[in-house]
């Protein structure tokens, strides 16, 4: 039976359309936003029919009515600040809006420029518009279009050539005190000049009982010889939806390091796409996901080896308990001509309960003939032999289990170079899985 395509009214999309008109009618970037919105509305939310979204359904997200978040003044005494302390220059956004009172970005080291996206658009709308429309062209997911339609703030980080910044740039997104379920579409734009070095810490946290939807897009560019280390700590509230995209372009002999921790949220999906565009470009990824309760945590990585002599390594680990569900999909695409590519991927997953599940899916697509590519994915329970070995040395069973869980996450944690970040994460894992009793 054939019929004319039915135009089904989708209430979720209609609602977003209405919110858009109310909020951006007089916005200077209205046209660009409207184009992005039209693209989003055309595609709608991704569905599980899309192979990329096979394991993750957004129906729960679609059924909720989120409104654009409002600026909420908050004062948090030191003891209640949930972020990593002493990790570097701190920039805080509360419900998606820059909160100068909580930030410490005045004293910027020479060569480093950090401005908020709102500020950038105010000062140089033409450049901002140009940049954003170019970024929109590269958008793969309709949710990136949704971000391009609704973004309000975010950060622009520029590193001048040859600048080495010791202090990390620590960007904290805090959700708090929303009356209604709210959404925010922050953006992060990073451009690291040639032979520059810096560390970024991107952190998503909450205070209090919050229902939220974060839909974030990061665009990171590394010029020749630049080194960027990027920590991403997703610890959103148990009632939140977190969608993240990071698109990273790596030029000649530049090195990009990702440390991706997906810990919070009811439903989270992070897509990390890396383009190794010139010879000598290198990417090194370390990731940990720890779904528990009814959490659904999904990480998709995509590494494109475009030029010859490009290298990548990936070490992703998942620890699922209760009814937690984890997804790791790691795609490596070696373009024709990207000879001498060396790509190694490992995904290891630990299930702590019978109802926990992790789907690990490595994908290799290789169009060159002189390459080294390897991948391995394992999913299993705590090793009974290791457990018995530890117990046979006098260590109680509960302690032996905790020890093995921490040991499982160890390689991802030891890769963390920032001491405050590592200690913070160790404390989180201790709260979560129990302490490893290190006797004096």
């Amino acid at each position: 039976m054939s019929a004319a395509p039915a135009i089904t009214a989708n209430p979720a999309l209609e609602r977003l359309n209405g919110l858009f008109e109310a909020r951006f009618a007089s916005d200077p970037l209205l046209e660009a936003r409207r184009a992005a919105l039209a693209e989003f509305l055309k595609q709608g939310f991704p569905t599980q029919r899309n192979e990329e979204w096979k394991y993750t359904s957004l129906r729960r997200l679609e059924s909720r009515a989120f409104v654009p978040s409002e600026r909420v003044p908050i004062a948090l005494e030191a003891g209640r600040q949930p972020w990593v302390h002493g990790a570097g220059l701190r920039i805080v956004l509360v419900n998606g809006h820059w909160a100068p009172a909580l930030s410490s970005m005045e004293a910027q080291p020479p060569g480093l420029t950090i401005v908020t996206l709102a500020e950038w658009i105010r000062h140089d709308p033409a450049a901002a518009l140009d940049y954003l429309s170019r970024a929109a062209e590269g958008a793969v997911s309709s949710l990136e279009q949704l971000n391009a339609a609704f973004f309000e703030d975010g950060l622009v980080v520029r590193l001048a050539p040859n600048t080495h910044v010791d202090e990390a740039v620590h960007i904290v997104h805090v959700w708090t005190g929303t009356q209604q379920a709210s959404m925010s579409h922050p953006r992060l734009i990073v451009r690291a000049g040639h032979h520059s070095r810096c560390t970024l810490i991107e952190q998503y946290v909450f205070v209090g009982d919050v229902e939220s939807f974060t839909n974030t897009v990061a665009t990171i560019e590394l010029e020749a010889g630049a080194h960027v280390r990027h920590y991403r700590l997703q610890q959103e509230s148990p009632r939140s939806f977190h969608i993240g995209h990071a698109n990273v372009r790596v030029r000649e002999h530049a090195h990009y390091f990702a440390h991706d921790f997906s810990l919070g949220g009811a439903l989270s999906r992070f897509k990390l796409a890396i383009y190794l565009q010139e010879s000598g470009a290198h990417a090194e990824l370390h990731g940990l996901l720890t779904p528990t309760g009814t959490q659904h945590l999904d990480t998709h990585t995509r590494i494109e080896h475009i030029a010859p002599h490009t290298t990548s390594t990936e070490d992703y680990r998942g620890i699922a308990d209760d009814r937690g569900r984890g997804v790791f999909n790691g795609k490596v695409l070696v373009h024709a001509g990207a000879q001498k590519t060396d790509a190694r991927q490992s995904s290891r997953n630990l299930l702590l309960s019978a109802k926990a599940e992790i789907d690990a899916k490595p994908e290799l697509e290789i169009y060159a003939n002189d390459v080294k590519c390897s991948h391995g994915a394992t999913t299993g329970q705590l090793d009974a032999d290791a457990l018995f070995y530890l117990r046979s040395r006098g260590i109680p069973e509960t302690q032996a289990r905790v020890l093995l869980i921490h040991a499982f996450a160890q390689s991802v944690l030891t890769a963390v170079e920032s001491v405050p970040v590592r200690e913070y994460l160790e404390a989180l894992l201790t709260t979560r899985f129990g302490p490893v009793q290190v006797s004096s």
Binding site: D385, Y389, R393, G394, I395, P396, L403, S440
Partner: protein, 249 residues
């Protein structure tokens, strides 16, 4: 010290031990030999508390206690130690941590204070020297990337640090070249004491050239068919196991 009486053990639907009885006194070294599949490894695994075995009959009494009622970690704290045939690699847990956690668990159980860091390192260094192990072993993951011989030496190092009352050595000689065998055997010999018993399971007489047993038992078909002194091992070396099986049949 250890009294095993009429022990019957099953794994799944396979009967492995069929009424095994054995008495081991303090200060004694017993060697258990026997053909493949005779139940030697099962015996030490059951004594150490490995899951997956079902004791259908019989008793094991260790220093007056029902050993089988204890969890593996409780057995360890009571002084039972098993040197594994295949020591497990545990990346992410370092050797020194395991040694210290094990030692402190045992000391705590005995009502002794936890060992202090300085004392502990001195103790471990001394034992490492005995086992001719390199300092770098300490901060590596448990058995991680160790060669077969290194793993076996590490087992005896653990034994030396934990000072068990009853040591069960499960084919500690397998996979060792002659130099490593000598080091391991020296380690074990240095740990012989009037208040400590050692039960070693082995395929080969050659281990007994280095560690001289007080008693030798032949295990076959899940039972001890013959016991004797070390001369029995020499006889086995010459004549194999069949004559014993035939005599028992």
């Amino acid at each position: 010290m250890l009294s095993i009486s009429n022990l019957h053990v099953r794994a799944g639907d396979r009967q492995i031990l069929n009424g095994l009885s054995l008495e081991v006194g303090a200060g004694e070294v017993h060697a258990i030999m026997g053909p493949n599949g005779s139940g030697k490894s099962t015996l030490v695994q059951v004594l150490a508390g490995r899951e997956g075995y079902e004791v259908t009959q019989g008793t094991v009494t260790y220093r007056g206690q029902d050993l089988l009622a204890l969890a593996p970690e409780e057995r360890a704290r009571e002084g039972v130690f098993m040197a594994f045939q295949y020591p497990v690699e545990i990346p992410g847990v370092n050797n020194v941590y395991l040694l210290k956690a094990g030692l402190n668990a045992i000391r705590k159980h005995r009502g002794e204070p936890e060992v202090d860091a300085f004392e502990f390192l001195a103790l471990v260094r001394e034992k490492m020297k005995l086992m001719q192990m390199d300092e770098s072993f300490l901060n590596r993951g448990v058995n991680e990337g160790f060669s077969g011989g290194e793993k076996k030496r590490n087992e005896i190092l653990q034994m030396a640090v934990l000072e068990p009352a009853l040591a069960l050595l499960d084919e500690t000689d397998s996979g060792l070249d002659i130099d490593a065998l000598r080091i391991v055997a020296n380690g074990v010999n240095s740990l012989r004491r009037p208040d400590r018993a050692i039960v070693m399971v082995t395929h080969y007489q050659r281990l007994l050239d280095y560690i001289e047993p007080d008693r030798v038992h032949v295990l076959s078909g899940g039972q001890i068919l013959k016991s004797g002194d070390k001369s029995l091992a020499l006889e086995l070396e010459k004549r194999g196991y069949d004559w014993i099986k035939q005599a028992a049949a």
